[in-house]
């Protein structure tokens, strides 16, 4: 195995369609989203602004909106709409109905 660390987070249907959910992987909070088109996305859970839980945010056009102050982040790149803000993203995919997250050490 190379540096990639794949983690099985469990069944896809533990996240409601169109919603997100927070997973704590090795002590790190990660927001995993199940988009309306069935795709998955994952970013670090805490908004860099005031640590709002992004897993509780609204989704739309490939972005998540932080529930506390409305800061927005692109789910693919992690780039924020506010200058200088971005969140870490994770590769995530569905395999046989399970969520597989690439949680690479130190990534």
């Amino acid at each position: 195995m190379d540096k990639k660390t794949f983690v099985n987070l469990g069944r896809v249907d533990q996240i409601a369609l169109g919603h997100g959910r927070c997973f704590v992987v090795g002590g790190e909070e990660i927001a995993v989203f199940r988009l309306r088109d069935g795709k998955l996305a994952a970013v670090e859970n805490r908004c860099p602004h005031r640590q709002g839980p992004l897993s509780e945010g609204l989704l739309g056009s490939g972005k998540v909106v932080c529930p506390l102050h409305g800061h927005k982040f692109d789910l693919a790149s992690g780039e924020g709409m506010e200058k200088g803000e971005c969140v870490r993203t994770f590769e995530v995919r569905e395999q046989d109905g399970e969520i597989i997250l690439d949680f690479s050490a130190g990534g």
Binding site: Q14, A16, F23, V24, V25, L59, S61, L68
Partner: protein
């Protein structure tokens, strides 16, 4: 033994005097009233609404016949009092013959056999006034009418059905109201005024001319400087009017509205001093002991009044004196204001219309293109007179200043345009770079200027998109516009500013029409129809709110279109925990509820228990998975303290315990809250009821407030605010009883739900739409939509379901799931 009080006249003055007396001493008198009109008492001010068909006759009654019975008043209805026999101490009256008007001179017409005599200890004369009819040839022809009673309105309406052209003689207040009313009967209307301008008593020449243009723009022809000589006819059928200068106009019917004269015969023949009117002193007494008078028949200190305000004031003094409640009470004259009640014309006039002394100061604002004219006459720093035409937004304030004799602001424009709140008193262009403009989002001027100069933002919304300035409460948007203007010379507007939500290029009314036409019942369906399926996160919540309003009970609820608060029915806090606020109707709880609340707070180690501003109990710092557990144990419904919906109706203790309470504010608050709980709206709605105008529950500054003023009457204020913006609500109407109060409140709510922009609080909405428009639509039903609004809000009420029942049956799996821990060891 009860004393016998006879009131001659059953108009607004007579009935008001009776009410005031009953309020002070319900058992003191045996009251008998003579009313020449065969009805209960009605609001004569609203006759123009009856004529213009916006109200039915039965809607303008103040006291129906049952009121007299319930209050032990004997009413001789349709009986005219003609004489007071001061020797025998009785009032003599006769039944009014059919087809004779209450205000007619009819001495020779009575059936002397049918005489009525009524003994008295005290008398109140409130005979009012009759229309003045100038000497015009042909005034008794069929098709010539006066405009004074409900019967007049009915006859005018009936006759107009067969007419093409109507002429109103008299360009005063009543004449113009009659003219506007006639328009609704599909006749061409001409107003003929003998003098040089309209509303000579209330307007100066300039505003009189402007009003003429306004009336003409509504399709009413106006002829001034024309004294009518005769009404022409062809074998009894009216053909037109001939003026003294030999010119003429065509007409099929004529309404004479040339002013009023007091009705004083009953006083005159009874030895009571009559000058122009029945002469009264400051205690409303005539020269004959035990005979009082009030209203339009009275001359007080040489002045006569033709308005209602003086009647209310006179009735209070009269009641204080006649009951002995306050023997020192005195009426010292009224400061009057006139408001033209013509649909489509805003006009208010108070006090004098021209400066009278060289030291009087006149401040004028004109906008001839839009027919707006505002003038204030100031004497010794107080308002001495004012005219507002075309825009009466500041009328309430001016009137208040005028009546209370308050000093006018040193900055005179505030008289017309109000106070610009807070920091906007200074021009934003003069502020230093580091000055914070948007306090919600902490944006300073430098950042806004950078967005304008470097990022080419030209509109307030563009600046907002770039910097977040103005995206919070929005109260700084005016200052942002000032900064743009100082940088670029002008402010641009982008169409998107008017979109209901940013992701759908439609303004609210267009969006509503399209959603209805295409039968779109879910947020995703709306995105599919108008945005190519592109789901905009910033638009979801607004759309969800709108759809739920449009399709009560049928809305397809997609939970991912909801903000987190509405997914879990709790308010997210800065640390990601939630708050729990159970519903406590009207702010009244029980020891049992308190014990349950305390029980869950202890059991689930709630971090803080806080009493809220809305008279609720807030349990703070609750983790999401615990929410349903707490709800179940509380056994109380959701207080909705997390969503854009009806929130709370707080109250004072009202009549239950308070010494000052005039109305049962607690019961009303509970009724309101049980009815409207959970009703969604463009923004939150916080209500209050107050048992008296002391306003302990702050009803004047709530989204909707009901304030008791006695006799189960409630003033309904809308658009109040006491948050980032402070605004006293505007008086929508005075409702009678809880049922009517609740109905009017619901009607306004529905209108707000349908017409406000998303996230627009009622204060913004009411300010934007204007209280006069809201009164016209919601009270006078000028658009004929009140019944529909009432039905719609009823549907919303019926669609209510306590969201906390999802504790038992979650709406979807993992609704309340917390973070899931994954151990890396197995990976």
């Amino acid at each position: 033994m009860q004393k016998r009080l006879v009131i001659i006249g059953n108009g607004m003055a007579g009935a008001r005097a009776a009410e005031e007396i009953l309020k002070r001493a319900p058992e003191m008198f045996k009251i008998v009233m003579f009313g020449a009109e065969p009805y209960g008492n009605y609001n004569r001010i609203l006759l123009s609404n009856v004529l213009n068909q916006s109200q039915r006759p039965e809607e303008i009654f103040l006291n129906p016949l049952t009121w007299y019975r319930e209050n032990g008043i004997f009413l001789y209805s349709g009986v005219k009092a003609v004489r007071i026999d001061t020797a025998l101490r009785c009032v003599v009256g006769y039944p009014l013959p059919a087809e004779v008007n209450a205000y007619d001179f009819c001495d020779g017409l009575f059936d002397r056999e049918a005489v009525v005599t009524e003994p008295y200890d005290h008398i109140i004369i409130a005979t009012g006034s009759r229309p003045f009819v100038p000497p015009i040839e042909g005034q008794n022809l069929p098709g010539v009418f006066l405009f004074r009673t409900i019967d007049d309105c009915r006859r005018i309406g009936e006759f107009a059905a067969g007419c093409r052209k109507a002429v109103v003689i008299g360009g005063g207040l009543l004449g113009l109201e009659a003219a506007r009313g006639l328009l609704t009967h599909n006749v061409e209307v001409t107003v003929v005024e003998a003098g040089g301008q309209l509303m000579h008593a209330q307007l100066d020449e300039e505003s009189g001319q402007m009003l003429k243009r306004t009336m003409e723009a509504m399709g009413i022809s106006v002829v001034v400087n024309s004294r009518t000589k005769r009404i022409r006819h062809d074998d009894g059928k009216i053909t037109g009017l001939e003026f003294q200068d030999e010119t003429s106009v065509e007409a099929d019917m004529v309404i004479i509205s040339a002013g009023i004269r007091p009705i004083t015969e009953v006083a005159q023949v009874s030895g009571i001093t009559v000058n122009k009117g029945i002469v009264c002193d400051d205690r409303m007494r005539t020269n004959v002991p035990e005979v009082f008078a009030l209203g339009e028949c009275v001359e007080h200190r040489g002045k006569m009044y033709g308005l209602v305000d003086p009647i209310w004031e006179q009735a209070r003094v009269l009641a204080d004196i006649v009951t002995g409640t306050d023997p020192q009470a005195r009426y010292e004259g009224s400061k009057t204001a006139t408001k033209l009640k013509v649909m489509g014309v805003d006009l208010v006039s108070v006090g004098v219309k021209e400066a009278e002394k060289p030291s009087d100061e006149t401040v004028v604002y004109r906008e001839p293109k839009r027919n707006i004219y505002k003038k204030v006459i100031i004497r010794d720093e107080k308002i001495h007179g004012a005219i507002l035409l075309g825009d009466t937004g500041s009328a309430d304030t001016l009137l208040q200043m005028f009546k209370t004799g308050q000093d006018v602001p040193a900055n005179r424009p505030e008289l017309f345009f109000g106070t610009v709140e807070g920091p906007a008193l200074v021009n934003a262009a003069d502020l230093p770079d580091h000055a914070q403009i948007c306090n919600c989002n902490g944006v300073c001027k430098k950042e806004i200027v950078a967005a304008i100069q470097n990022d080419h933002c030209r509109s307030v919304s563009a600046v907002g998109a770039r910097t977040k300035a103005g995206k919070g409460c929005g109260s700084c948007r005016g200052m942002i516009a000032q900064i743009i203007e100082s940088c670029l010379g002008k402010v641009s507007y982008d169409a998107a500013e008017h979109y209901y939500v940013p992701g759908i290029p439609l303004e609210k009314s267009q969006l509503v029409a399209q959603v209805r036409a295409k039968n779109l019942k879910s947020v995703s369906a709306v995105f599919a129809a108008f945005a190519g399926g592109k789901e905009d996160a910033d638009s979801k919540v607004g759309l969800a709110s709108l759809l739920k309003t449009l399709w009560p009970g049928e809305y397809e609820d997609e939970r991912d279109a909801r903000f987190i608060n509405d997914r879990v029915h709790a308010n997210i806090q800065r640390d990601g925990t939630f708050s729990v606020v159970p519903r406590i109707y009207g702010g009244v709880t029980t020891p049992d509820e308190l014990m349950r609340i305390a029980g869950v707070a202890v059991k689930y180690q709630v971090k803080m228990v806080k009493i809220t501003g809305g008279q609720r109990i807030d349990l703070l710092g609750v983790q999401k998975p615990v929410l349903p557990l707490i709800w179940k144990e509380l056994g109380m419904p959701s207080g909705h303290a997390y969503t854009k919906a009806f929130r709370t109706c707080k109250s004072c203790v009202g009549t239950d315990f308070c010494r000052y309470g005039l109305g049962d504010s607690i019961k009303l608050a509970q009724t309101i809250e049980r009815r409207f709980q959970g009703v969604e709206s463009p923004h939150k709605m916080k209500l209050a009821t107050a048992g008296c105008p002391r306003n302990c529950s702050e009803a004047y500054v709530k989204d909707i407030g009901a304030v008791a003023i006695g006799e189960d009457k409630w003033e309904i204020y809308i658009g109040g605010a006491a948050g980032g913006t402070v605004r006293k609500g505007d008086l929508l109407c005075t409702a009678r009883g809880h049922e009517e109060t609740v109905r009017v409140i619901g009607r306004f709510m529905q209108y707000y739900r349908e017409h406000a922009k998303y996230m627009e609080r009622t204060y913004g909405f009411v300010g934007r739409v204007g209280i006069d428009v809201l009164k016209s639509v919601l009270i006078e039903d000028s658009l004929g939509i009140c019944a529909r609004l009432d039905a719609r809000i009823q549907e919303a009420v019926e669609a209510y379901r306590d969201p906390w029942r999802e504790a038992q049956e979650p709406a979807y799996e993992h609704q309340f799931a917390g973070p899931k821990r994954i151990s890396l060891a197995e990976g």
